[in-house]
Amino acid sequence: MSKSVDETVFDFFSVLLQEPTKEVQTSAEDKPTPTASNSNSVSLKKQHSKTFKKPNINNSLGAVVKKVAPPPHQQEVKKAFAEPQVDKASLSKLLSAVSKPEVKQPESKPIHIGEVDSVASDKSAQQVQDEIKLKAQQVRLQLEKAVVQESTVDDVKIISSQNNKEPEISADTSLDKAEVNVSEVELNVEEQHKSSVPPSITGNLQDVLDDEFQVLFFNVAGLTLAVPLVSLGGIVKIEHINHLIGRPNWFLGVQTRREQKVNVVDSCRWVMPEKYTQELADSIDYQYLVMLEDSNWGLACESLVNAVRIDKSHVNWREKPGKRPWLAGVVKEQMCGILNVQALIEMLDAGLGCQDSID
């Protein structure tokens, strides 16, 4: 009863391998997925045709499941595969659990679901490999003759939401009829991701950032914001701000710094004007200015939290500029917005507020 996920997955694929015929290999070149025309879709791409024996399947897939399968699914999977008959619904959950977290990554690097352990240790394994290769060739020949229509591709459905661009992969109940060589499947989201990003007024912040980059967290009226250090022009202590008449209400004024004039933004009022009340205004005690790149703009903040190094994958990047092009995404761990400084500068230069249209 205490089967591990590795063993469960192994059992599942063992069942699949033992069942004859109706084996299907899926690839982008061979057949389009149901959502292949969709820019947000996920295509399946064939990799090098490595096949494997049972023990290797166990090893390789198990390793993948260890990486990506969330713990809550483990119990369901265990129950499903402890029974002699394969619970197809559980299989669906299993595969979706394996694939979903990976394709959420905004960098959309090609994600390999399964990596074949190339170390073949004994001769019987080699024989099994040969058999599988033979079967695979037969199936491939059959597939070449038959026109595979989208409506008939019910073995593997790749569902991609146009809105949230979070592809979700689920296995159909007919999975038991086909061999899905998971090690040959690559979720190639990269191209789709690029094409799905609408043109922004500033380009993509992700392009200029390294995979790992540093951000500075700062507080404004209880709200934490992050700014990439590459976009940070400096930190200035607020001393005396000169109010200028006829400016937007979020424009606090001008502070001189090294004979230059820093335009001070009331960050709270700019970022969340809908929550800005006189009471809130009275409670805010701005201490520092977070300078934006080499511009004259400084965001007033109450305190500086810290600067940490984060990975790109730790940010839930916004894929559409939408109404807030200044917001590049959300840092998952701190649950705070990360600024697209270039966009912010352009908006401030144009005298636009947070909710003003950029068109």
Binding site: H240, N242, H243, L244, I245, G246, R247, P248, F251, V254, T256, E259, Q260, K261, N263, N296, L348, D349, A350, G351
Partner: protein, 164 residues
Amino acid sequence: MTDSRNVAAVAAGKEDVVLQWVTFKLDNETYGINVMQVQEVLRYTEIAPVPGAPLYVLGIINLRGNVVTVIDTRSRFGLDAAEVDDSSRIVIIEAEKQVIGILVDSVAEVVYLRRSEIDNAPNVGTEESAKFIQGVSNRDNELLILVDLDKLLSDDEWAEITQL
């Protein structure tokens, strides 16, 4: 920035003219007006209200037999009203060929500024009052806001106050 302006001035063959500015305080900010437009500075005197006058007009005063309209500068600049005190002054100015008075919190000094020391104000204003500022200058780490008196009122408003 200053260097680039100097270079531009030299390139244009113009002298870096020194201008004098009368500075006054309004809501803790220092403003400057061209000394050539200032006729005199008065202590606060009784201002007679004018029925039906625009909101930005405080009233009129009698200046040696001449009626001078006094403008509510705070109101014009979009600032909150404040009580008149001992430091309040009425600055008599000439703009658009008219003589008017502007009520200010206090008058400070006359400063000398080279043209190269004057920068443009941040161009983010969309309000009417944004056009009053013709430039800013940094003096002793304080910002001096230079006011274009000719633009203090629109053409229609200048015409209107002549009818008072």
